[in-house]
C-alpha cells in the first residue's frame, strides 16, 4: 500500500529550558516498528504529538520530519497522513460503529454501497461481523480498541503512531490486541512508532528499542537496542549504550 519511511532528522523538544527529547535522528522503514520506552512524563507522548502535528503549549521544538520524500514538519496535522492510535479509543459516542468507521474511511472509496461493503468486510475480517449498527458504548474494551485501529487504518495513513494504546487493556486482551495491531500494520506495510512503558510491548514489537534514561546529572539520554542486541541481552545483561545526544 505505502512504501514511505518515516524519518526524523535532529528532532528535539524542550520545555522551559529542560530537554525532553534530545536531538533524535531515526529512520523507520515500512513494515518495521521502532519502540520508544521511558517513564511517564519523559516526553514520549509529546514526541508523538509533535510528529502528528497536534502539539500545543509552550514547547520548543526543532528538527525535520519526513514521510517518504515529503517533509511534513510544517504541514497541518490533518494533511500529514500520520495516524495516531491513542491510549483512549476515542470512538465518537454519537455515531454507530459503522459510522465511526465510515468517518475514517478515505474519501477515495465512493458511493454509499461501496463504502458500506468495505466497512462490512473490514469488520468481518476483524471478527466483528454485524457490529456496524452497534452503539460503541455497548462494546467491550477489546472490541472498542479494535474498532479504533480499523477506523485509523481505513483513513489510509502512511505512518502509524501508537501512543500507549495497550495501556488500558487487561493482560489477556493486551497480548491479543497487540498482535492484532502489529499484524494489521505489517499487512499495510506501515512504519510504526510505538510509545510504551511496558517491556512486553517492546518485545512483542520485535524492533529497535529506544529507551529514555536520565543520568545522575538529570540529563536525558537515549539508549538504543537493536533486535539482535536485544536477543543477546536476554542471555547476558549489560546492553551497549549508544549516546544519541543529550545536552
Amino acid at each position: 500500500m505505502s512504501d514511505a519511511a518515516l524519518r526524523l532528522e535532529q528532532v528535539s523538544i524542550a520545555l522551559d529550558g529542560r530537554v525532553l527529547i534530545p536531538p533524535l535522528t531515526e529512520q523507520i522503514l515500512p513494515g518495521t516498528v521502532l519502540t520508544l520506552m521511558g517513564p511517564s512524563g519523559s516526553g514520549k507522548s509529546t514526541l508523538l504529538s509533535f510528529l502528528g502535528g497536534t502539539l500545543r503549549g509552550p514547547f520548543r521544538t526543532a528538527g525535520r520530519i519526513w514521510v517518504g520524500s515529503r517533509e511534513v514538519s510544517t504541514v497541518a496535522a490533518e494533511q500529514r497522513r500520520i495516524g495516531t492510535l491513542f491510549q483512549d479509543d476515542l470512538l465518537f459516542p454519537h455515531l454507530t460503529v459503522g459510522e465511526n468507521l465510515a468517518f475514517g474511511l478515505a474519501r477515495a472509496v465512493r458511493g454509499r454501497s461501496a463504502r458500506a461493503a468495505r466497512i462490512t468486510a473490514v469488520l468481518a475480517h476483524a471478527g466483528l461481523e454485524g457490529f456496524a449498527s452497534r452503539d460503541p458504548a455497548t462494546l467491550s474494551g477489546g472490541q472498542r480498541a479494535r474498532v479504533a485501529l480499523l477506523r485509523l487504518l481505513l483513513a489510509e495513513p502512511q505512518v502509524l503512531l501508537l501512543d500507549e494504546p495497550f495501556n488500558k487493556l487487561d493482560a489477556a486482551l493486551r497480548a491479543e490486541f497487540r498482535r492484532f495491531v502489529f499484524e494489521h500494520a505489517a499487512a499495510a506495510a506501515l512504519p510504526v512508532l510505538l510509545v510504551t512503558h511496558d517491556r512486553a510491548d517492546a518485545e512483542a514489537a520485535a524492533g529497535t528499542v529506544l529507551e529514555f534514561r536520565t543520568d545522575a546529572m538529570g540529563t536525558v539520554f537515549i539508549e538504543r537496542t537493536s533486535p539482535e542486541q536485544s536477543e543477546s541481552a536476554a542471555s547476558a545483561p549489560g546492553v551497549e549504550s549508544v549516546r544519541e545526544g543529550g545536552g
Partner: protein, 581 residues
C-alpha cells in the same frame, strides 16, 4: 410528582442521610406551584377572552368574534409576517454564527473577547441594549456619523428608516447582539463537558481539519445541551416586546406589540382581539419550536450520511471563518451601543456628522437626579425581593434534594424552562386577572411575584450545578461531628458556596431589571421602574434623558455581578489577615 427530578424529591430515603423536615420536603412542590400556577392560570385567563369569555365583562357564550376582530385589524397579516421573519431569522442566524465561532475556536475558555465584551452585553438589559443599538443605527447615529460626510456626502442625517424599519432588520440586529453572547455562554459550558481537543486530535489523525471535525463530531455531542437554550432564544425572539417597541416598526408592529397595545387600550372590547393575538403568539411560538424540532431530526438524519461520506474538505471552513468575523463585529456593535448610551447621557450639543459631542455636561444627570430616584428605588427593591425569594426557594429545593439523596434529573429542566418558552404576552394578561382576583394588581408584591416567575429559573440554573458539585464529604464530616443539618447548611454549605450563591443572586437581579412586560401588566401601569421609564422615553424622548435611564439600567446588573465577585474575595482576604495576626 414523578417528572420532578431537579425540583422534585423521591419519597424513599437514601441510607445515612438526614430526613428533611416536612416543610423542606414540600419545598420543590411549593416552588413549582409558585411559578407554574400563575403561568397556567395566566394562559387560561388569556385564552378564555380569546373566545369571548371574560369575568365581569362578558361571559356565558363561546364565540369566535375576537378572532374575527383580530383578522379585521389593519396590517395584521404584515404584523404576523414581521414577527416570523425577525424572530426566525434572528434565531437561525444567532445559532449558526455561534456554531461558526465555536468551530473556529472551541477551546474550553471562551476567550478574552467573550469575557471582556460579551459579559457586559450579556448583563445589560434588553431594553437598554435596544436603545443603544438604536443610537448606533439611527440616521443620526454613530455608524452614519462615522461614514459622513467623507463617504456618504451627508451633512444632514439622511431620511432613511435605519431603525424601526418596516422589515424589522434593526430589531433582528438588536436580537442578534443580545442573544449571541447568551448562546456562546451556553455553548462554552456544554463544550466543557466534552473532550473536544482530544476528539479533534483524533479527527486530525484521520485527516480532518478543525472546522469539519467540529461540525461532524463536537456539535452533535453538545447540541442536546443547547436545545433548551436555543428554544428559549427562539421563543424570546418571536415574542419580544421591549426590543420590538424600540427597534421594530410601529405600524404595523410585531404581533406581541399589537397585543400589548390592545391590552393597554382604555376600551375593554379591545381585550378580546388582544387575547386572540396573545393566543396566536403562543401558537406561533409552539409551532416554531415544533418546526425547529422537526428540522433537528431532518438535519441529524442528513448529517449522519454526510459524516459517513468521509469528505475531509468542507465548504463550512470559509463559512465558519465568516461567521466568526460577524460575531466579532456584532460584539463590537454591542459594546459600542452601551458606550453610546453613556456618551449621549453626558452630551451637550452634538452636531451631525461630529463623531463626539462638542461639549460634555452632566446636566442631564443633574436634571434627572430627582426623577430617577423613585424608579431606581423601585427597581432595586423589586430586584432584591425577587432575587431573595428565588434564592430561598432554590436553596430549599437543592437542600431538600440533597437530604433526600435523589439526584436531579434532566427532565425537570423542561419545567424550569416553561417561563422561558411560553411567550410573556400569552399569559401575563391572565396572570393580571388572577392578581386582580387576589386584590394584588398594581401592587409591588404582584410585580415582585411576576418577576419571580423569570428570576427563579435562571437562579436555579445558575446555582444548581455548583451546589450539586460540592464535595458531600464536608457536610458528612460536619454531621459526624454532631452538627445539625440546619447548622451544616448555614455554617458549611452556604459559606463554601458563597460565591456561587452571590452570582446566582446577581443573575436574579439582572433578570429582574430586564423585565418590562411583567412590570407593565402586574404593576397595572402604577409601578414605574427604570426599565418601563427607559422604554417609554425611547420612543421620541430626549436622547440625553433616555441615556441617563438606560445607563443606570445597564449599571445595576454590572454592579450586582461586581459585588458577587468582590465580596467573597474581600472575605478571603479578611480571613488571611486574621490568620496572619
Amino acid at each position: 410528582m414523578n417528572s420532578g427530578g431537579g425540583l422534585a424529591v423521591q419519597p424513599q430515603q437514601a441510607p445515612g442521610l438526614v430526613p428533611a423536615s416536612a416543610w423542606l420536603r414540600r419545598m420543590p412542590q411549593f416552588t413549582l406551584a409558585v411559578f407554574l400556577v400563575p403561568i397556567g392560570a395566566g394562559l387560561l385567563g388569556t385564552a378564555l377572552p380569546a373566545f369571548g369569555w371574560l369575568p365581569g365583562v362578558a361571559s356565558g357564550r363561546w364565540t369566535l368574534a375576537p378572532w374575527r376582530a383580530l383578522w379585521a385589524q389593519p396590517g395584521i397579516g404584515t404584523a404576523i409576517g414581521l414577527t416570523l421573519t425577525s424572530g426566525l431569522s434572528a434565531t437561525v442566524l444567532a445559532v449558526l454564527l455561534v456554531f461558526g465561532w465555536c468551530a473556529q475556536r472551541s477551546q474550553r475558555s471562551p476567550g478574552r473577547l467573550v469575557r471582556g465584551v460579551m459579559g457586559p452585553i450579556l448583563a445589560a438589559p434588553h431594553a437598554a441594549m435596544a436603545i443603544g443599538v438604536g443610537f448606533l443605527l439611527a440616521p443620526s447615529g454613530w455608524i452614519v456619523r462615522l461614514l459622513s460626510p467623507w463617504l456618504t456626502g451627508w451633512h444632514q442625517p439622511p431620511d432613511i428608516a435605519t431603525v424601526q424599519d418596516p422589515h424589522g432588520i434593526a430589531l433582528t440586529v438588536g436580537l442578534l447582539v443580545k442573544e449571541i453572547p447568551y448562546l456562546l455562554l451556553m455553548s462554552a459550558s456544554a463544550l466543557g463537558q466534552v473532550p473536544v481537543q482530544r476528539q479533534l486530535d483524533a479527527a486530525a489523525a484521520l485527516g480532518y481539519g478543525r472546522t469539519a471535525a467540529w461540525f461532524k463530531l463536537v456539535l452533535p455531542q453538545i447540541y442536546p445541551q443547547l436545545r433548551l437554550p436555543i428554544y428559549a432564544v427562539l421563543a424570546y425572539a418571536l415574542s419580544v416586546v421591549d426590543m420590538a417597541l424600540i427597534l421594530g416598526p410601529g405600524n404595523p408592529p410585531t404581533l406581541s406589540v399589537l397585543a400589548l397595545r390592545w391590552f393597554s387600550s382604555p376600551h375593554v372590547r379591545m381585550y378580546f382581539p388582544a387575547a386572540a393575538a396573545a393566543l396566536l403568539q403562543f401558537g406561533i411560538v409552539a409551532a416554531s419550536i415544533a418546526l425547529w424540532r422537526g428540522g433537528e431530526v431532518l438535519v441529524a438524519r442528513l448529517a449522519r450520511r454526510w459524516i459517513a461520506r468521509g469528505a475531509r474538505h468542507s465548504v463550512l471552513e470559509p463559512l465558519a471563518a465568516l461567521g466568526r468575523g460577524i460575531v466579532v463585529v456584532l460584539a463590537l456593535l454591542g459594546a459600542a451601543s452601551l458606550l453610546a448610551l453613556a456618551v449621549w447621557s453626558a452630551a451637550s450639543g452634538w452636531r451631525f456628522p461630529d463623531l463626539l459631542p462638542q461639549r460634555w455636561s452632566a446636566a442631564a444627570w443633574h436634571q434627572q437626579a430627582a426623577t430617577v430616584l423613585w424608579p431606581l428605588g423601585t427597581t432595586l427593591l423589586v430586584a432584591a425581593a425577587a432575587s431573595a425569594a428565588a434564592l430561598l426557594l432554590v436553596l430549599g429545593c437543592l437542600e431538600a434534594e440533597q437530604r433526600s439523596g435523589a439526584p436531579g434529573r434532566s427532565r425537570s429542566l423542561w419545567l424550569l424552562y416553561v417561563p422561558l418558552l411560553v411567550p410573556q404576552i400569552a399569559f401575563l394578561f391572565g396572570t393580571q386577572v388572577l392578581f386582580t382576583a387576589m386584590r394584588l394588581d398594581g401592587t409591588l408584591l404582584a410585580v415582585i411575584w411576576s418577576h419571580l416567575l423569570f428570576v427563579l429559573p435562571y437562579v436555579f440554573l445558575s446555582l444548581a450545578d455548583p451546589w450539586r458539585a460540592l464535595d458531600p464529604r464536608y457536610a458528612r464530616t460536619a454531621l459526624a461531628l454532631g452538627a445539625s443539618p440546619g447548622r451544616v447548611f448555614l455554617r458549611i454549605k452556604l459559606p463554601l458556596l458563597l460565591r456561587a450563591v452571590l452570582v446566582a443572586a446577581a443573575v436574579g437581579v439582572a433578570v429582574s431589571v430586564d423585565q418590562y412586560l411583567p412590570t407593565i401588566f402586574a404593576g397595572a401601569g402604577r409601578v414605574v421602574t427604570l426599565t418601563t421609564e427607559a422604554v417609554t422615553l425611547a420612543s421620541g424622548g430626549d436622547r440625553r434623558v433616555t441615556g441617563v435611564f438606560a445607563v443606570l439600567q445597564s449599571a445595576l446588573p454590572l454592579v450586582g455581578y461586581g459585588l458577587a465577585v468582590l465580596v467573597p474575595r474581600l472575605q478571603r482576604r479578611a480571613l488571611r489577615i486574621r490568620s496572619a495576626s
